[in-house]
């Protein structure tokens, strides 16, 4: 017969990785590593993906705990989507490992996929299906049927506000509704881990706000990874941010700890009329424990100074008080936190345009 031992073994030697890996282990539970539910919902260990000569993801190591919303940042082509695809079990890692809830993505892919809600990049959907038929399919494929399926669909339809378009064909929906359908699909099974690839891309500001509120509401009981280009989103919803450039993880921390990398983070900026600049400079020097730099020079007749807030006893109120007392006109006075955009640019573009390790 055509399918003899020869054919099978011939193919098996040609594609050893695939034939071995596709078989789900009989007892997936046995392959589960003991894991700490609170701190290790997602564990990436030197996760690497190569496409031929291109290393798309290069030894990324990180953890996401329950209750965390990780903002996954990086320029286009940095490896965000590839990383997320590996966590979701669509791509197999070239080396290193990824585990979700203690299950390895290569050895127990089905267990991993059961626990993940995944919104793929661009929210691909079956355009020729009706919205309700699609959600029924998404529920059935996850093993729900009958009243349970009905209940779960009703729940997500309410969550993402899809009620009015349920009977419409998906290809006729607006971009915002399509994104919400894809999001509904990811939430049907109330997963422990959510992987959302650009969930607010293409939404209008109200819809963005709505999606962010939803993510925040779900955050306490799940581990969520959100990739985005919009840095304000990181501060709005994420408890932590990871920045990836050219496949390498270049930063991982809270928004504040990333901002702290900026040279002008937490600096008091003082602006006075040019004529009063020497007086202000002298005053500030007496207050500050370090040298005061004239930061801004002359802009529209206003000279600006920048002093680290830590260098001044009493901080910003003290500066305000002393300037006022000495009769200097205050044109500007604020605490500079810095912007994540600057952190992002600094980290993803080195002087030579190369990603910094």
């Amino acid at each position: 017969m055509r399918r003899g031992g020869k054919d099978e073994s011939g193919l098996a030697t040609d594609f050893p990785a695939i034939t071995v890996r596709r078989e789900a282990p009989v007892d997936a539970e046995a392959t589960r590593k003991s894991f700490n539910e609170m701190s290790e919902m997602i564990v990436l260990d030197r996760l690497t993906k190569r496409f031929g000569a291109l290393t798309a993801v290069d030894a990324v190591t990180m953890r996401v705990a329950k209750g965390e919303v990780l903002g996954f940042l990086g320029p286009n082509g940095a490896g965000k989507t590839t990383t997320m695809r590996m966590i979701a079990g669509f791509f197999e890692p070239t080396s290193g490992s990824a585990a979700v809830c203690g299950f390895d993505v290569v050895h127990a892919p089905i267990e991993v996929k059961r626990r993940i809600g995944y919104l793929p990049e661009g929210a691909p959907l079956y355009g020729d299906m009706r919205c309700d038929a699609f959600l029924e399919f998404a529920a059935s494929i996850r093993g729900f049927s009958g009243a349970e399926r009905r209940r779960r669909i009703d729940r997500v339809v309410e969550m993402v506000e899809l009620g009015e378009v349920l009977a419409r064909s998906i290809e006729t929906l607006s971009k915002g509704f399509k994104r919400r359908v894809a999001l509904a699909q990811a939430l049907l099974h109330d997963p422990d881990v959510l992987i959302l690839d650009e969930p607010t891309d293409g939404l209008d500001p109200n819809q963005k706000f709505h999606v962010r509120e939803m993510i925040k509401a779900m955050a306490p009981t799940k581990a969520i990874v959100v990739s985005t280009h919009i840095l304000e989103e990181v501060e709005a919803v994420c408890t932590r941010a990871a920045i990836i450039a050219r496949g390498r993880l270049v930063a991982d921390g809270t928004a504040d700890s990333l901002l702290a990398r900026l040279p002008h983070h937490n600096h008091i900026v003082v602006g006075v009329p040019q004529a009063e600049a020497p007086q202000a400079a002298a005053l500030l020097r007496t207050l500050a424990a370090e040298d005061v730099a004239a930061a801004g020079g002359d802009v529209d007749g206003v000279a600006t100074f920048s002093i680290a807030v830590d260098a001044i006893d009493g901080g910003l109120p003290a500066v305000a008080h002393h300037l006022k007392a000495s009769g200097v006109t205050i044109e500007r006075l604020y605490l500079e936190r810095g912007r994540l955009d600057d952190v992002f640019r600094n980290l993803t573009l080195g002087a030579d345009g190369e990603a910094r390790p």
Partner: protein, 244 residues
């Protein structure tokens, strides 16, 4: 099993959500009838047999089955929905089988639409209904083998036209492999034993023996094992293809 069913049901629904399904069924029924009467000489034979009906099935399938199978995987890859499908908790093999079953059920519906032929021949005479039943089963199995080849070709590309042409070509080679057109070329290059192997893979000769009333297990097994082999190849192709 339930997950295979969910995939199959969705796929089947999508066949009927476009006019493609109805066009296919109408064309299949019209062409198979027209060929039977005008080319096969059904009435001139003055015999109660459906052989002139079944003898054209391999050629009809050659043209029409790639049209059914071309979208199976190529479209998923083109629109990116393959990412949704393969990140759902099911194995690639389950997805491959589910999609195949949908296409298979669809072709079965088209084939069932020709059942009036069977009724007609019973009104006109007294045919050997066992042979006709066997021929229907054989035709369906052969369609399955064509579909499995088409499914594999569809998994190799994201372009449906390319999938169609690849499937038609490979199906053509398997259909023709019993004829001298192919065998002479094989004999010229390889030792005679290869020609025998190639000839034994011919869809025409396996199907021909079924429609002539020689219903042997080995012909059924041949088509079934073709289906299994090509679905296995599809699974490999899908797994390799998604990494690009």
């Amino acid at each position: 099993m339930r997950r295979i069913g969910a995939v199959a049901l969705r796929e089947l629904r999508s066949y009927f959500s476009t006019p493609v399904a109805y066009v296919f069924i109408v064309i299949f029924v019209a062409m198979s009838s027209a060929l039977t009467f005008y080319v096969g000489g059904f009435l001139q034979r003055r015999e109660a047999t459906l052989e002139p009906f079944f003898m054209f099935h391999p050629w009809l399938y050659l043209l029409l089955i790639p049209a059914v199978s071309m979208r199976l995987w190529a479209e998923e890859r083109k629109t990116g929905t393959i990412e949704l499908l393969l990140t759902a908790p099911l194995t690639t093999a389950e997805a491959v089988v589910g999609k195949f079953l949908a296409a298979f059920a669809f072709v079965a519906v088209a084939l069932a639409a020709t059942l009036p032929m069977w009724v007609t021949v019973n009104i006109l005479g007294s045919p050997d209904n066992g042979v006709i039943a066997g021929s229907y089963a054989g035709s369906l199995l052969m369609a399955g083998a064509f579909l499995a080849i088409g499914s594999c070709m569809s998994a190799l590309t994201r372009n449906q036209v390319i999938a169609f042409i690849l499937a038609a070509t490979v199906c053509f080679l398997f259909t023709m492999s019993g004829l001298d057109l192919v065998l002479d070329a094989v004999r010229a290059v390889f030792p005679p034993v290869f020609a025998d192997v190639v000839a034994s893979l011919s869809f025409l000769s396996h199907f021909g023996s079924i429609t002539k009333g020689v219903i042997e297990l080995r012909d059924g097994v041949f088509f079934l094992s073709m289906i299994v082999f090509w679905l296995f190849a599809t699974t490999v192709a899908v797994d390799l293809g998604k990494a690009r």
